[in-house]
């Protein structure tokens, strides 16, 4: 290998730094500014205080939105994981036109512009007369399911089929094979799928914009409407909480999963949108 040119190396290094700055600087600014004690946005902050976090949890609408988002994310991620896992188990070892079609169908919500999905669901719910919370839950579930589907699919495909066959030849029925053999082997895929669904649901805005009703607003919607009408420090604290929930918590769980096993499911989850696009 030739040693690379120093100019090229310098260019590459500066491009990398620039890209990282572009991605990380906004997040850093939000997280740092959230600890500012001042009334209005000031960067760098003159001091550190938890004032706005206290304010965040004292305000009813913010706290309710946070709790609703959390509930919604937990429930919809669980629902999406169950559905996505079942779909992935069914499709993992099947080939053919119908299987390909079904796979595209499972991944379709990623390619479909979410704002159109929100509008479509809104029109549907109005005709059916759906109450707000189940409607939101369904929408979040639809958006999160492709992630679960992909991660579980990747781990099932990495699984040796002879293990399941061994379980069945030893007398286990399909259900006990699933619970005793398959699920213990693919739990990392299931868990990371759940995490991705959780992240997506917690940060989901485009569909919730149409579907959230009076008194039932998710945290991103609450932040968004605050930002549109008044941009106070409170919003920054709320955004920081969102970032903390979205970034730190799942990240640490992913780390823990990776340490105890393979990285296939996590990589599959991250690459889910890309695979959805590249094999439609």
């Amino acid at each position: 290998m030739k040693p690379s040119l120093s100019l090229g190396r310098a260019l590459r290094g500066s491009a990398t730094v620039l890209a990282f700055l572009l991605i990380l600087a906004p997040i850093l600014i939000v997280v740092v500014a959230a600890f500012s004690p001042t009334d209005y946005f000031e960067f760098p902050p003159p001091g550190l205080s938890l004032r706005w976090f206290v304010e965040f949890f004292r305000l009813d609408n913010m706290r309710n939105a946070f709790v609703l988002s959390l509930e919604l994310a937990l429930l919809s991620a669980t629902l999406a994981t169950v559905l996505g896992t079942l779909g992935a188990l069914f499709l993992a070892r099947r080939r053919g036109v119908i299987a390909g079609l079904l796979q595209s169908l499972f991944l379709a919500p990623l390619v479909f512009p979410t704002i159109i999905l929100g509008l479509a669901l809104l029109l549907l719910y109005k005709t059916v007369g759906m109450p707000v919370f189940p409607g939101l839950l369904l929408a979040h579930c639809v958006i999160g399911m492709p992630y679960c589907f992909r991660t579980v699919l990747a781990s099932v495909q990495a699984l040796d089929p002879s293990l399941e066959e061994a379980g069945q030849s030893l007398g286990a029925g399909p259900i006990s094979t699933l619970f005793l053999v398959t699920l213990p082997l693919i739990w990392q895929g299931v868990l990371s799928g759940w995490l991705f669904a959780f992240i997506v649901s917690f940060g989901e805005l485009n569909t919730a914009l149409f579907l959230s009703g009076p008194g039932l607003t998710t945290l991103p919607i609450e932040i968004f409407s605050y930002l549109q009408f008044q941009g106070s420090q409170l919003v920054i604290a709320a955004a920081a909480i969102l970032i903390l929930v979205l970034g730190v918590l799942p990240n640490s769980v992913v780390r823990w999963t990776q340490r105890s096993g393979n990285v296939v499911p996590v990589a599959a989850g991250i690459a889910t949108p890309i695979t959805a696009v590249s094999n439609p």
Binding site: K2, L5, L22, I23, E42, I116, L119, N206, A271, I274
Partner: protein, 279 residues
Amino acid sequence: VLHIQLAHYFAVDTFVACFAAAALFFGQRAWQRESLVDALIAGVMAGLATASKVSALMLLPVLGLAFIWPRRGRPSMSQFFDGMTAVGVALVGAFFAFRVAEPYAFLGPAVWSLRPNPQWFADKNYWTQVSSGAIDVPLDLLYSTEAVVVGLMTILLPYMVISIANTLSGLDPRYEEAAQSLGAGPIRTFVHVTLPLSTPGVASGMLLVFLLTLSAYVTITLLGGPRSKLLVSMIYDNVVSFQWPRAAALAFILLAIALALTGIIMAALRPARVQGTGR
């Protein structure tokens, strides 16, 4: 404040530098050739520079001093008067250029009206304080198409990176090694081997970013402000004002655009055929 200074740098200093350089160039020519036309142009340039940035005002005394500076031989009275004429011409040119470029600085509709506008000085003072960091203002970068583009780029960059990285990690390193062993430098290897092979990743990344941009309502609304209306914001506005059939029609148009462009990108880049596999 740094952003303001940067924006200021890009928006203002380029013009100031251009005009100031032109002014100095023509000033120097006027000094050499003793030509009043050049003096006039130099004055106009200096006036434009001052209109771009007030601190360019100090160009005028420099030019004036240059004009009356003795050219060759002993300084004489006639040379001094010639220089003074040049200075006068330059000043008149500078004044009219400034008057045309910054009409707000003067009161009255007439071009020759000399009464200065006090509000203009107040504004200048305010912006000076802003750019020095004494006062903080909302960023001017906000509420523009550029802001939307930069914001979306920041948000969507990871998707593109992951997409390309996905393809590159599946790339057989022997291709690159073969190219290098055949004598290609790093740049040639990249252009002729790595880049064509990474087309599938670039294509799917482009498609993904494109689709995500189409439905990026929030970023557009927050960064673009109320003035930039895109298809998604129109859909949302129609939904909020209960014109649902219209919103549905707009959504259908958006979907049609998305599908059509997806088809075009897929057909144009043919990600599945480049490497022979669909991955």
